[in-house]
């Protein structure tokens, strides 16, 4: 039976990659998108902003008259980049933490405390309080700090999940066999833990990408951007085109022309679904593969043990 999740997820992420890499060069993409605040049709009627979908604006326009399709294609790169960087930093911190927790009990308790602490309020509130702190606002490294804050808030949760997997794995006969056979610690890590943790980590990582996208989207609606500048007569504006900036700049259209927000929203949903499908698909793939691989390793370990005993 075909692994549908893997197929569809793979296609989704692949298409996303194409848009990110080659999007700016597509013929129908206006790069950079020029705003057009006056549009008169053939009968001499002025068409009101935001422009509805038409042949010239396939997905309509935003509040400045910029072509939505172009905005979405151009915005894909930075959106995905921001989300991936945050997720990667989160895992770079969480994986070693999970490992240290499995060896040092005190660290495990600290991790539980950390996780508990960040579960006392919704992530969005915690993010707002931390990101709006004057120390962060005035820092020359503000963008980096914002990325770190969003990454670190959920490090506790991810570490605990990974630790639990690690712990369960260490209690299996398979790993005990590995210890009995006389593996050194790094050998155990390399031959026993790594091949089994790797699939888990990849799957959880892909599912987490969706969560990061969710948080960053909510923050964008609340006008917190990853990189922003202050202009004298305006509210904080951000400096790059992302799907999130489209959402926040056109927020006020939610009551009158929600279609403008529906397109970047759909782009976000499709991305989240693609990553989730890919994660699910890989999980099923590794489960099926792992079953036979697990048995093979188990057999090999027992054989080695028997040979040593002789």
């Amino acid at each position: 039976m075909a692994n549908k999740s893997l197929i569809f997820g793979g296609i989704g992420v692949f298409l996303l990659l194409i848009v990110v890499l080659f999007g700016p060069y597509f013929p129908f993409v206006e790069n950079p998108p020029m705003g057009n605040t006056l549009w008169v049709d053939d009968n001499g009627n002025v068409i009101k902003l935001p422009y509805p979908p038409s042949t010239e604006y396939p997905l309509g326009s935003d509040r400045d008259g910029r072509d939505m399709l172009s905005l979405l294609v151009l915005g894909a790169k930075y959106t995905i980049l921001y989300v991936l960087i945050i997720a990667i930093i989160r895992y770079i911190i969480a994986i070693p933490f999970a490992y240290i927790a499995s060896r040092v009990k005190l660290f495990l308790n600290i991790l539980h405390l950390w996780n508990g602490f960040f579960s006392t309020l919704p992530v969005v509130f915690i993010a707002i309080i931390l990101i709006n702190n004057p120390l962060v606002v005035a820092s020359p490294y503000r963008t980096l700090l914002v990325i770190l804050i969003i990454a670190v808030i959920e490090v506790g949760r991810v570490s605990i999940v990974l630790y639990t997997q690690l712990d369960e794995l260490s209690k299996t006969q398979f790993v005990e066999a590995g210890i009995m056979v006389g593996n050194s610690h790094s050998g155990l890590l390399r031959r026993y833990y790594k091949p089994f943790m790797m699939p888990h980590i990849i799957v959880i990582f892909l599912l987490d990408v969706g969560r990061v996208m969710l948080i960053v989207g909510q923050l964008a609606f609340l006008e917190i951007f990853l990189s922003q500048v202050w202009i004298l007569t305006d509210a904080p504006t951000n400096t790059s085109i992302t799907w999130l900036s489209i959402l926040s700049e056109n927020r006020h259209y939610i009551r009158t022309d929600p279609l403008v927000l529906l397109f970047p929203g759909a782009a976000i949903v499709l991305t989240i679904i693609s990553f989730n499908l890919l994660g699910e698909g890989l999980r099923i793939y590794f489960e099926n593969k792992g079953k036979s691989k697990y048995n093979a390793k188990l057999e090999k370990a027992y054989c080695e043990e028997i040979n040593v005993a002789r």
């Binding site: 405390l113 508990g116 602490f117 579960s119 006392t120 309020l121 919704p122 992530v123 969005v124 509130f125 707002i128 309080i129 931390l130 709006n132 702190n133 004057p134 120390l135 606002v137 005035a138 969706g210 996208m213 969710l214 989207g217 909510q218 609606f221 609340l222 006008e223 500048v229 202050w230 202009i231 004298l232 007569t233 305006d234 509210a235 904080p236 959402l247 939610i254 009551r255 929600p258 279609l259 927000l261 529906l262 929203g265 759909a266 976000i268 949903v269 989240i272 679904i273 989730n276």
Partner: protein, 309 residues
């Protein structure tokens, strides 16, 4: 007893968290300046004044003890009164959403389980999974758009932005219920599938009892405990989504007011950080207490689940 120890641990973490966030809110912000710079953008600058910080903490503690309360808000009401007004509106949403998601979630879970791997699966597990992947703000956008479209086509018009009156609660509750319902449905269908292979279920089937009877008598009882142990997650989802839903639909409940109080709404530049300390702490405390209560329920449920084995 182990249960009491766990509950005390969670309570201590909440107290710690509350203290730290209060301290963060009390940080003096008047030294945040925005100066003109060559790039044409305003350059923010901030010096943290520790004496000032100590002083603001001291005066806050003193005022709270003297006034036996958190003082007054900018609307000239007592903080406790305003907290009550706004939190009541949010509580209506939270409680009704909870009840609806529980009921609908259980039904959807049973449906997903029964439908299993047949072609009807599209309405079963797949729909559950897809609806879980949609962010709350996209739900708000899609539903607003659909309603506007319907109204333009002649559907009876009704107001849904605002907070006074029952009609304003319909949309927020619908949007808030979607994710928790799917979450509970997933738990229920997974738990039901897990139970299928148990020997006592199989012997009941062999005796000839109808599937429905088995379902309601044995399986659901076990599901109930599983659901209870996830109550803290459900509460967290509802409160997280509450923020965006109240904000986008102008439903002036606790989350909306808290966003306003953290100096957040309509930031103009140069932004003046006017954090309304009293009401921020009051509302923050209310939400934390809700979450703490749900954690205690979950811990208790997990403890009894573990005991039964």
């Amino acid at each position: 007893m182990r249960l009491i120890r766990e509950i005390i641990k969670v309570t201590i973490i909440f107290v710690l968290s509350f203290t730290i966030f209060t301290l963060l809110l009390l940080q003096p912000t008047h030294t945040l300046d925005f100066n003109a710079s060559e790039s044409g953008y305003l350059q923010p600058q901030y010096e943290i004044d520790w004496n000032d910080y100590k002083q603001s903490i001291n005066s806050f503690v003193k005022d709270t003890i003297e006034n036996r309360g958190l003082g007054t808000t900018k609307h000239r009401n007592q903080v406790s009164e305003e907290v009550r007004t706004y939190m009541t509106r949010s509580l209506y949403l939270i409680v009704i959403t909870f009840i609806i998601s529980l009921l609908l979630g259980i039904f959807k879970g049973i449906f997903d389980y029964r439908v299993g791997t047949s072609y009807k699966q599209i309405f079963g597990r797949w729909s559950t999974w897809i609806l879980q992947s949609i962010p709350d703000f996209v739900l708000v956008i899609s539903i607003s758009w659909s309603l506007l479209l319907l109204m333009r086509m002649g559907f009876p018009r009704f107001n849904f932005y605002g907070h006074d009156g029952w009609s304003y609660m319909i949309l927020p509750i619908i949007i808030l219920s979607i994710y928790p319902t799917m979450y509970i449905a997933k738990i229920v269908s997974a738990k039901l599938s897990e139970q299928e292979t148990l020997p006592y279920i199989q012997s009941a089937k062999a005796k000839g009892l109808s599937n429905t009877l088995i379902l309601y008598k044995h399986l659901l009882g076990n599901c109930w405990m599983a659901i209870c142990s996830h109550i803290s997650s459900v509460m967290m989802f509802i409160i997280s989504n509450l923020i965006i839903v109240e904000y986008l639909l102008f439903y002036q409940g606790g989350a909306y007011r808290l966003l306003q109080a953290i100096g957040y709404h309509h930031t103009k530049a140069p932004p003046v950080n006017n954090i309304e300390i009293g009401i921020s702490i009051g509302l923050g405390l209310s939400f934390m207490l809700l979450l703490l209560a749900s954690h205690i329920v979950s811990i208790t449920a997990k403890y009894y689940l573990h005991k039964r084995g």
